[in-house]
């Protein structure tokens, strides 16, 4: 293992520790007694005491934190205030839905952004380039929930092609899953595609203006060949990392879209936990998401370092 990888590992571990602190403090910062508030009138003294003890709220703050981290390491994130189920299980149950949505969205985004970005760069200044710019500006400015509502109105309402919301596990019914995932994935994918299109365009443009490309052009190679041989290979490395970072942020669960489309992923879980004031579940979901995000970024950096040895030198 190189020193770079080691350093990044250490750094991620420190940040993760910080994340646990933030997540831990979430519960502490709740005004009043969080267990009392979460129970509402379902309050009875036994349940109350049991949940308080289970959440460790009857012990000193520092001890609480260390035991929280200690238990989190072993995969114990406490129990839900609402259902009494282990938080780890509740959160992991939601992972497949979020994973399948995030991957589909990124796939859609790449399929749209890659040709659009490359063509826009190659024909810089053309009508297509302008169209690509308008598209990406549109995508980063439009509220995703608004797009989602309009999508539901059009494809589920007027045209009746797709179901308006809901979820079918991929493993149970692939066709049903596909029908359900298309609208939410396209909604999420549009935003991602806009970001990617911009990035791919500028990345390809940068390589196009590099000396060796100009040399190749001067040697009389036709534009298309130049693009394929030299440019794409060199422009691809940063693009891959951006795709990976986008994926990482989508894995965090796309709250708004999951809520809008009743997609039972991490984002919906977070939202429901907030509504029910189910703090252990909220903490667990947030912790998992942040850990995933850090892990993905770590992997991206290591991958990037392998592809581009200059990084380690820094």
């Amino acid at each position: 293992m190189s020193r770079f990888v080691l350093r990044r590992l250490l750094q991620s571990a420190v940040v993760l520790l910080g994340v646990t602190l933030v997540v831990f403090l979430l519960l502490q910062l709740v005004p009043g007694d969080p267990v009392r508030v979460a129970l509402g009138t379902r309050f009875d003294p036994q349940t109350y005491e049991a949940l308080r003890t289970r959440a460790g709220l009857d012990r000193p703050l520092v001890a609480q934190y260390f035991s929280y981290v200690g238990r989190a390491v072993t995969g114990d994130l406490g129990v839900s205030f609402r259902s009494g189920q282990p938080v780890t299980r509740i959160v992991l149950e939601r992972l497949p839905a979020t994973l399948s949505l995030a991957l589909t969205a990124v796939l859609i985004a790449v399929l749209v952004a890659f040709p659009l970005g490359v063509l826009a760069a190659v024909r810089s200044g053309s009508a297509l380039d302008h169209a690509a710019r308008v598209f990406s500006q549109f995508g980063v400015s439009v509220p995703d929930f608004w797009m989602g509502i309009m999508g539901i109105l059009l494809f589920a309402g007027v045209l009746g092609w797709l179901p308006p919301s809901g979820y079918v596990p991929l493993t149970e019914d692939p066709a049903g899953w596909l029908a359900h995932v298309l609208l939410p994935a396209a909604t999420v994918g549009l935003v991602t595609a806009s970001i990617l299109t911009r990035f791919i365009r500028s990345s390809v443009l940068e390589v196009l203006s590099a000396d060796y490309v100009r040399t190749a052009e001067a040697k009389g190679l036709r534009t298309r060949v130049v693009v394929l041989r030299h440019v794409l290979r060199n422009a691809l490395i940063p693009v891959i990392t951006v795709v990976a970072v986008q994926l990482a942020s989508l894995l965090g669960g796309v709250i708004v879209v999951e809520v809008l489309f009743a997609w039972p992923g991490i984002g919906r879980l977070t939202y429901d936990a907030v509504q029910a004031r189910d703090y252990p579940v909220l903490q667990g979901a947030v912790l998992l998401v942040a850990a995933l995000f850090l892990l993905m970024n770590l992997l991206v950096d290591i991958l990037y370092a392998r592809l581009d040895p200059r990084i380690t030198a820094r």
């Binding site: 933030v22 995703d144 929930f145 806009s194 970001i195 984002g267 907030v274």
Partner: protein, 293 residues
């Protein structure tokens, strides 16, 4: 120094004038500011003039944007809500700018363990998806206008810290700063005279772009019912409330959504143009924070 700044500003302005999208963005922003300050007087009806006999009327001369599920004038609500959006945007980005730039300045200027501690702290905040962190903060503090401002402000703080720190690091090694240090100028003086003016450009760009995202984030929070609470009008909240009616009352979903879109678009257009002019090195972390999901 000030002459340099003037010329920079002039250059920026003239470049913007020749960038049609940026001009369009600026015009929309200007209109927004007018509506934001005078919306209450521009609105043809009161935002909470409930009239159940007028509910869900389509756009007409009397109600150009139609009426909502309580018979209120949608145009009036859209106009007045502009203020809330701008307020949340400006205050939350203001928080992020002050706190973030402060942290970045200290971290970049003093380096060493201070830098390490502060920036790892920012890394921690950066490890959460934007909206997730905002929602978690709202969960703790309870939904409302102030909470939304704080939550969004916290969420965008690390971006400003990073941008500022990067700027400070690059300025710090330049000859004029080293010279100032060597003649024994105080830290405060160096920061004020030399560092700040040189990192102003990326901060201005970042502020403009962040305003777009902050407004989008506020709309998303309100759309989840976690932002501004009724009866105060907010665009995201109007979509949230109108969601059950959009199939038969498209105007409930369309106009508030279009208002959010136009506002965000305007900030993005101006921000992008500013970046092209002011920050060609692309210090700004625009893309990284684009996703509001």
């Amino acid at each position: 120094m000030s002459a340099a700044r003037d010329s920079q500003a002039r250059r920026a302005l003239s470049a913007l004038r020749h960038d049609p999208p940026a001009v369009a963005g600026a015009v929309v922003l200007l209109a927004l500011v007018v509506v934001g300050t005078a919306g209450r007087w521009l609105a043809p009806a009161g935002v909470n003039d409930v009239d159940v006999d007028q509910m869900l009327h389509p756009p007409s001369w009397a109600h150009p944007f139609g009426t909502d599920e309580l018979g209120r004038d949608v145009l009036s609500r859209v106009l007045v809500a502009a203020r809330v959006s701008l307020e949340v945007g400006v205050v939350s980005v203001g928080i992020a700018l002050l706190v973030g730039a402060g942290i970045g300045l200290v971290a970049g200027y003093y380096r060493g363990w201070v830098d390490n501690v502060l920036m790892r702290g920012m890394d921690v905040l950066f490890a959460f998806p934007v909206l997730l962190l905002a929602v978690a903060i709202v969960a703790v503090l309870g939904p409302g206008l102030l909470t939304a401002m704080i939550a969004i402000g916290v969420v965008y703080t690390p971006i400003f810290a990073r941008v500022t720190r990067a700027g400070v690091l690059s300025v710090r090694e330049q000859v004029f700063v080293r010279a100032a240090v060597s003649i024994g100028a105080s830290d405060l003086r160096i920061i004020r005279r030399h560092v700040l003016p040189n990192i102003a450009a990326p901060l201005i760009v970042q502020t403009s772009l962040s305003l777009a995202f902050a407004i989008l984030s506020e709309a998303a929070l309100s759309f989840l019912g976690l932002g501004i609470q009724p009866p105060a009008p907010a665009w995201g909240r109007m979509l949230f409330d109108g969601r059950g009616f959009v199939t038969e009352a498209w105007w409930l979903g369309f106009f508030p959504g279009a208002a959010i879109f136009l506002t965000v678009l305007a900030f993005n257009l101006v921000g992008d143009a500013l970046r092209d002019v002011l920050d060609p090195r692309q210090l700004t972390l625009g893309e990284a924070s684009r996703s509001t999901t």
